[in-house]
């Protein structure tokens, strides 16, 4: 198969499915739509695997726009390939938006991630939505939006230029909105989807401004040109030299502003502090879509964005990378602390997602072009992106199974489930071990590399924070694990009509697939073979000192969780009673949401909008009405002269005559 001929279908097929399923939603039953959607995405997934496989292990070539033939690999280095690039809209002579297909190691890797997770979620959703008994009629809608999301996400990672990315960036935003608001009759879901959309939209505004600044000076949108030759184009456009930071705006280097704005866009999607507020609420959506969008794929778009522009960041704006790693570190710790106090199992996972994405950001932030050591962070970040996508999706899908049985999201309704749901128990356990960083599960490798990257690049403080976060992570994950599966059996289970049980194959198969991917990750061909900043091979040093510490910290976390939560006891309550304010403060997510609400509701709505509306109604409108009033009253008053009162006329007449005579005579 020619890659160039099949590549368009990777994007077209999901788009067609979206249109088709959306238009025929009333024609087919939900199951039929689901089957069509799943099969279609199965084909897309196969195409994705094929393309990625060809790219990494095969050999093929495309002809680029200059007429040269570009192979996927030259020696050990993978090349960036533009499979196709179609002009979509021409803004100026240089600024042309293309819709294209861009292959390089990270987009090929993302293809695999998206194909896998999305396919698994398609399959899982069939069981989940069907079993859940609700929404036969909504299922086609659900699958249509899943297709839209897959289309948008694929388009995002395959973008040849930053504007294409922005286009698909918005599209993933809207499909996320639609999926969070899937249960549109639930007020909580409605406010969650609004919040998610508006917060990310707010961040996207910065992204747009960043794009505008960057593209204006660089006179191109293309990643190829922006990144080429160590971001030479950007360096020249912004007049960056070794001595100066180039064009300044308000005393800041313009490149810093532009790239930081672009990062803010990524921060919005990837739920970095302070834009993280939407992600926990987004858990109102159906669990499979949370697994796909809010754990594995969309939320890592920000990481992907920074990785995509990594040469620009690294050469032109290393200070932004510094900022990214500090923001990331703070977010990681902050989210981990909040996750400890949550009782809704999906919220715990949401905060853990925030925290893990922050890991990836930190890894990118500490990384620079240079030598293998400084570039380690990039690979570590991508690796963590991959492993996290797998195990976090698995954890979410397990949650889906559990919620399915218990019909509640709250920990207090759970406990002792291990007896009933053995497969789920095992998979969840694997996921927890992986996220805690216990060898030989996948998380161990990626997290270890991130910590090593922090340590070796001299970010010692960040290293300490990240290690502590790792400990917290293993603690809260196992708190969750023990609380769900051990603790104390809920008596209600015995009396329930349908006792909790493992689900049918559609729901179990994805769990097993992910579990296998997580457990046998170490068998994978190494990431260091291609998914590196230089796209070539590199050594992955294993610093056993750091790995040892991280394992020890993780085990400590597990141990504490075991002591506190394995069997039902009073200890957690006693500890919490010692500082109730702190606990409730953390439980309320440190009141960040309230601060945002304060700004938006009270200030923007209450002050700005209300006052503008008042101004409009009273001043602008009032002025116009005042003009009308004046006209009306003037005419009424002039009308008074025509009073019908003869004597008045006579008086006026006489006075007129007198005046005329007076003027005439004197």
């Amino acid at each position: 198969m020619e890659i160039t001929s099949i590549a368009p279908w990777v994007l077209l097929l999901p788009l067609c499915m979206f249109v088709f399923l959306g238009l025929t939603s009333h024609k087919f039953s939900g199951q039929t739509s689901a089957k069509i959607g799943t099969v279609a995405f199965g084909i897309v997934a196969i195409l994705c695997y094929y393309i990625a496989g060809q790219y990494f292990f095969g050999s093929f070539s495309v002809v680029n726009e200059n007429g040269y033939e570009v192979f996927n690999k030259t020696g050990e280095v993978y090349n960036q390939m533009t499979i196709f690039n179609m002009e979509w809209m021409k803004m100026t002579e240089n600024l042309i938006i293309h819709i294209g297909f861009y292959l390089d190691p990270i987009s090929a890797m993302m293809l695999v991630v998206i194909a896998t997770v999305s396919l698994m979620v398609h399959i899982y959703s069939y069981g989940y939505m069907f079993e859940h008994g609700h929404f036969d009629e909504g299922m086609s809608r659900y699958y249509a939006v899943l297709s839209l999301f897959s289309f948008a996400m694929l388009g995002l990672v395959l973008a040849t230029n930053i504007f294409q990315m922005y286009i698909f960036w918005e599209l993933v935003g809207v499909s996320s909105f639609l999926l969070i608001g899937y249960y549109f009759f639930k007020p909580a879901a409605v406010s969650a989807c609004k919040k998610a959309f508006i917060v990310t939209r707010f961040a996207d505004m910065f992204f747009l401004i960043g794009i505008l600044v960057l593209s204006y000076h660089a006179q191109t949108f293309d990643f190829d040109k922006l990144n080429a030759n160590n971001a030479k184009l950007v360096m020249d456009a912004f007049q960056i030299t070794a001595e100066s930071k180039g064009i300044a705006f308000l005393g800041f280097p313009l490149i810093t502003i532009a790239t930081f704005c672009i990062f803010l866009g990524g921060a919005g999607k990837s739920a970095m502090f302070p834009f993280h507020i939407w992600l926990p609420d987004a858990m109102e959506g159906p669990t499979p879509s949370s697994a796909l969008i809010h754990a594995a794929t969309m939320v890592v778009a920000g990481v992907f964005l920074v990785a995509r522009l990594f040469p620009v960041y690294s050469f032109a704006a290393p200070e932004v990378l510094n900022a990214i790693c500090y923001i990331g570190a703070f977010t990681a710790l902050f989210a981990a602390i909040i996750a400890v106090a949550q009782t809704d199992i999906k919220r715990v996972l949401a905060f853990s997602t925030i925290s893990q994405i922050a890991y990836m950001m930190v890894a990118l932030g500490v990384s620079r072009f240079g030598n293998h050591e400084t570039e380690l962070g990039f690979t570590a970040s991508m690796m963590h992106l991959f492993t996290h996508a797998m195990f976090k999706a698995m954890l979410f899908l397990c949650c889906g199974c559990i919620i399915h049985c218990v019909e509640s999201n709250e920990m207090k309704h759970m406990g002792g489930l291990w007896k009933y749901m053995k497969k789920t128990w095992i998979c969840f356990g694997i996921g927890c071990l992986a996220i805690a960083g216990i060898p030989p599960f996948s998380g161990f490798f990626s997290k270890g590399e991130i910590l090593t990257a922090c340590f070796e690049n001299g970010y010692k403080a960040i290293y300490i924070v990240m290690t502590a976060t790792a400990g917290l992570t293993s603690f809260y994950m196992f708190r969750l694990f023990f609380h769900i599966f051990h603790w104390q059996e809920n008596e209600e289970y015995a009396t329930m009509k349908h006792k909790p049980h493992d689900q049918e194959w559609q729901m179990t198969l994805p769990l097993i697939v992910f579990a296998v991917l997580t457990v046998f990750f170490f068998l994978f061909p190494g990431f260091n073979n291609g998914i590196t900043a230089t796209r070539g091979e590199m050594e992955m040093p294993t610093n056993w000192f750091i790995e040892g510490i991280s394992i020890a910290v993780a085990l400590t976390g597990i141990g504490i969780a075991y002591v506190l939560y394995f069997k039902k006891n009073d200890m957690p309550k006693q500890i919490m009673d010692k500082c109730p304010e702190l606990c409730s403060f953390v439980y309320d997510r440190m009141k960040i949401d309230e601060i945002w609400y304060g700004i938006t509701r009270s200030f923007i709505f209450g002050v700005i909008c209300k006052s503008i509306a008042w101004f409009d109604h009273n001043c602008i409108d009032g002025f116009m009405n005042f003009c009308a009033w004046i006209t009306k009253h003037t005419s009424y008053n002039t009308k008074e002269a025509q009073s019908g009162n003869v004597q008045q006329y006579v008086w006026v007449f006489i006075m007129g005559v007198i005046t005329i005579v007076f003027l005439a005579v004197y």
């Binding site: 009073s643 019908g644 009162n645 003869v646 004597q647 008086w651 006489i654």
Partner: protein, 102 residues
């Protein structure tokens, strides 16, 4: 002999007394009376000018005669109208006839 100016003074004063009455009177009959005053003031002028300036002719003289006659006719009609208004409105003040307005 009496200079013609004196007649003119008298007629001027009488004229503006009539004007005053016309404007100030509330009652239609009163207004009508003021009109008579004005007409008479004019008559005095006519007659005086006729007498002093063209004693041999009778233009002013005849004119005053006609004025008297027309005034009589006018008064008759006006009073008929006033009676009518009174019957309709119940009073005969000037303010009662404002149909022109609105």
């Amino acid at each position: 002999m009496i200079p013609v100016e004196f007649y003119l003074v008298v007629s001027t004063l009488l004229f503006f007394i009539g004007v005053f009455g016309f404007i100030a009177r509330k009652n239609l009959v009163g207004v009508l009376m003021s009109i008579e005053l004005i007409l008479n003031a004019v008559n005095i002028n006519f007659v005086a000018f006729n007498r002093y300036l063209f004693p041999g002719q009778l233009e002013g003289y005849i004119y005053s005669l006609f004025v008297i006659v027309v005034a009589a006719a006018e008064t008759a009609v006006a009073i008929a109208i006033i009676m009518n208004i009174y019957r309709r409105k119940g009073n005969e003040t000037v303010n009662s006839i404002k149909e022109l307005k609105n």
